[in-house]
């Protein structure tokens, strides 16, 4: 290798970034989401203290964590799809479906519980596979495909469980959504760890690359179709996991309870700094976004906001958050 360097170019040579600055700039969106989470937590505690005259305790923490779990799983899945420049509107339908199946089929035996869990996850993956094949192989618009499959999955769910009901064994609830202590935090950590490993796998890099530039990704030797399909498959699986958490914490099934998750999962990832244009963002951000979304709902509840106005305030909060995020991003870029 020749050693004549190009180093003697004062106009171009620039100092290397320090590790800290480097880490900060690379993870700016996640850090921003974390800040928003802390702000919403502080607000929540303040309002709770004002209205309830004591600090939120173990019960509140456990409920919040259990409420967040289904959304966190759905948001992690949504992140994967959005990273490929897609969108998965069928998340709500898959949650409905898995929720209904779990409520109808779960029996109080270890065999039944593990079998149903695996089966539901596979059904979620299959639902995602349908989406993925239509989008990646059929070259159809993700928004159209998943809007259609959303309705289809909702229909299947209603067919399986026409009225809210069914039952979930207590032990299943204790494992997935323990009502007495925030054990579900383990699953949050697990999701985070899975993302960490995924980001360092070939598939993870491929999904990010596609979102960056599909043409360039393919020039880099990535099988774009396969990676895209896999993003939807994993998203379906994660949504199904969300449905299981939902069934566990509600100790029963409801074939319409997942509907709101389509929009809320998108809200969560936007708050978590995932770019809807693809290629930028992390599932960790999405999970944090899920927490923020739930905190906002809690805030409104304890502020005694009329339930009918809840969506109004949720919308206002979302707008404020998005404007703040892009505003701070803009300032950071101008500084750099």
């Amino acid at each position: 290798m020749p050693s004549e360097a190009l180093a003697d170019r004062p106009a171009i040579a620039k100092p290397r970034r320090r590790a800290l600055t480097h880490g900060l700039t690379q993870n700016a969106p996640v850090l921003l989401a974390l800040t928003m989470l802390i702000v919403s937590l502080v607000l929540y505690v303040a309002i709770f203290l004002l209205t309830q005259h004591h600090l939120p305790g173990g019960f509140e923490i456990t409920t919040t964590v259990n409420d967040t779990m289904p959304l966190a799983a759905a948001a992690a899945g949504q992140t994967l799809v959005v990273l490929t420049r897609g969108i998965d509107l069928s998340v709500g339908g898959i949650i409905d479906m898995s929720n209904a199946i779990a409520a109808v089929t779960l029996r109080d035996t270890p065999a039944s519980m593990s079998l149903v869990t695996v089966m539901v996850l596979l059904i979620g993956a299959a639902a995602g596979l349908v989406n993925g094949l239509l989008v990646a192989v059929g070259r159809l618009q993700p928004i159209l495909v998943t809007l259609a499959t959303l309705s289809i999955f909702q229909g299947i769910a209603i067919r399986i469980l026409p009225q809210p009901g069914g039952s979930v064994p207590q032990i299943y609830t204790n494992i997935l959504a323990n009502p007495n202590a925030p054990w579900s935090l383990v699953y949050i950590a697990l999701l985070g760890a899975l993302w960490w490993a995924f980001r360092r796998s070939s598939l993870g890099v491929a999904i990010l690359a596609i979102g960056n530039d599909p043409m360039a990704a393919s020039s880099n030797g990535i099988n774009v179709v396969r990676a895209r399909v896999m993003a939807y498959v994993l998203a379906g699986m994660l949504a199904a996991a969300g449905g299981l958490f939902l069934a566990a914490s509600a100790t029963g099934g409801d074939a319409t309870t997942g509907d709101s998750f389509t929009l809320r999962s998108i809200v969560a990832i936007v708050l978590g700094g995932v770019s809807l244009f693809g290629g930028r963002g992390s599932a960790v951000g999405g999970i944090i976004g899920a927490f923020i979304t739930i905190m906002i709902a809690n805030l409104l509840f304890f502020a005694h906001v009329n339930q009918l106005y809840e969506s109004f305030f949720e919308g206002v909060f979302l707008l404020i958050a998005v404007v703040a995020a892009s505003g701070i991003g803009y300032l950071a870029r101008r500084r750099a």
């Binding site: 170019r9 393919s218 020039s219």
Partner: protein, 505 residues
């Protein structure tokens, strides 16, 4: 140097009878090409002659409609670039393929990152490996941890090249590798090419800069209208141009238009802002005022400020004696200032729509009545412009993205000519444009200047400035370092002033 071609040498790569069309335009028409191991083979031709398409076909990016690709004598059928990579053929495509939101290290070691024992990518290890790789190539000014979107175009091109040349490729295709590089980086690239050639790699590259071709190519293949004209070991520029165009171009540079009684039209005093400080200049009617200097010394910022696309922090701009505030492009366009940027893709043209719509985008009012576009009037206007600029295409409705680079540039120029602008800011408009089209653009510039339009012209090629401009301002570190005119206006002086203090010139 390879003077004779040994008949028994198996070509590293061959394309036989290749054809490929894009929307009615035959980009490759029964083309045949071969390159030997250990040679540097230049591909030359006009924009749209099929060089890029040939490289895309041989590099696995595009499938030919007919014809055979052979690597080391074996027939190949590439389903994608990864198949070509497996066969040992790597390409630096003209449009860069780096992933913007990922780090330099991730890009450089894409597909071959450092992995830990769980087969997961070790990001810190990958960064260290990338650092070592770059240092080994003598590149010490690019931070492997920086995001690709945060580094300059030239740096991206260096990273793209570094990635391809470190793959132990048997065949390396470089499609205009030097288009955004400065002199010193070009020298670096050529050292790398010579090293690879000595190791037996077959290197195929395209360039529009003749001195580069002369400097490094062992053989030259000329392309015209989608197929090869011939392969030569010796070829001078004039002969090459004749072969490329099938007609004689008498002189590359047209005679400078006369500047009789210069009346100032655009006067800039003490313009300052990000990247430039205290730039003053006077542009006269009918004048071509050149702006030279090394890339990254404020040219872009100056042009963008004058077009209202970048905010000026200080200074005044007067147009025909009246002060103007150029706060956004709309204001500049209304004042009669037009910008033709180097990056026509991201800064002006709408690639997926037709030539007609692109041409009339800024003058819709002129071709409309009561807000409805008059098709016939629009059509007539476009025909006229297409003829005048000699835009070659599959018709007015052809999406601009299907045109070659030089023709895209002409469409953008045509749009501004339709607006009757008085001041043209031409920013490196001939970059990546073939010789014949360059000639047409030069001619056009002279004619426009002759009609009284004032042209501010930045070029990364000093030669161009020396031949076309009436005066040249050299920018260095955001300031005017020298003003050259008359006998002092030579390419050497421009280059010298770009790197040295002006009193030392």
């Amino acid at each position: 140097m390879l003077q004779t071609v040994a008949a028994d040498l198996v070509p590293a790569v061959e394309g036989i009878g290749l054809s490929r069309s894009y929307g009615g335009v035959r980009a490759l028409n029964n083309a045949t090409f071969s390159a030997l191991p250990g040679e540097v083979h230049a591909l030359v031709g006009e924009n749209g002659a099929g060089k890029s398409t040939l490289i895309k076909v041989l590099g696995g990016r595009v499938r030919p409609e007919s014809g055979t690709v052979r690597v080391m004598g074996e027939n190949m059928s590439f389903a994608g670039p990864h198949d070509a990579h497996r066969a040992g053929a790597w390409t630096v495509f003209q449009e860069l393929t780096l992933l913007p939101a990922m780090t330099v290290a991730e890009n450089l070691l894409f597909g071959r990152p450092v992995r830990n024992r769980f087969k997961l990518i070790d990001r810190a290890g990958t960064e260290r490996a990338a650092d070592a790789l770059l240092n080994g190539l003598g590149i010490t000014y690019i931070d492997p941890r920086a995001l690709v979107e945060d580094i300059s175009l030239a740096e991206r091109q260096v990273v793209e090249i570094a990635r391809a040349i470190t793959q132990d490729a048997k065949i390396l295709f470089l499609d205009e590798p030097t288009s955004s590089l400065v002199e010193r980086e070009v020298e670096w690239l050529f050292r790398q090419i010579r090293r690879l050639r000595a190791a037996g790699t077959s290197i195929v590259f395209t360039s529009h800069r003749w001195h580069e071709i002369r400097n490094i190519a062992d053989r030259i293949t000329v392309f015209r209208a989608g197929r090869e004209v011939g392969t030569y070991t010796e070829l001078d520029e004039d002969h090459a141009v004749t072969l490329m165009t099938d007609r004689r171009v008498d002189a590359l540079y047209p005679a400078r238009s006369l500047l009789l009684a210069p009346t100032p039209t655009l006067e800039v005093k003490g313009l300052a802002g990000t990247g430039i400080s205290g730039v003053s200049l006077t542009l006269h009617k009918g004048e071509i005022l050149g702006v030279g200097g090394l890339a990254g010394h404020g040219h872009r910022e100056l042009f963008f400020m004058l077009f209202g696309a970048a905010r000026a922090a200080g200074g005044t701009v007067t147009l025909n004696g009246r002060p103007v505030r150029l706060r956004r492009p709309r204001a500049a366009i209304r004042a009669g200032i037009a910008l033709v940027p180097e990056d026509r893709k991201s800064e002006g043209l709408l690639l997926s729509i037709g030539i007609r719509e692109n041409l009339t985008l800024s003058v819709l009012r002129r071709v409309s009545r009561f807000g409805v576009i008059g098709r016939r009037r629009e059509q007539a206007l476009c025909r006229q412009m297409v003829d005048r600029l000699r835009i070659r295409s599959g018709g007015l409705g052809a999406p601009v993205g299907t045109l070659s680079g030089g023709n895209q540039q002409k469409v953008l120029l045509g749009r501004w000519l339709l607006t009757d602008c008085q001041i043209l800011l031409l920013y490196d408009v001939t970059r990546g444009v073939d010789v014949a089209t360059k000639h047409e653009i030069y001619d056009l510039m002279m004619r426009l200047a002759g009609q009284g339009k004032a042209i501010l012209f930045y070029s990364s090629e000093a030669e161009e400035l020396a031949h076309l401009a009436h005066r040249v301002l050299v920018l260095r570190e955001g300031r005017v370092a020298a003003e050259l005119s008359g006998a002092a206006l030579t390419a050497e002086r421009i280059v010298a002033a770009s790197v040295r203090d002006h009193h030392a010139v």
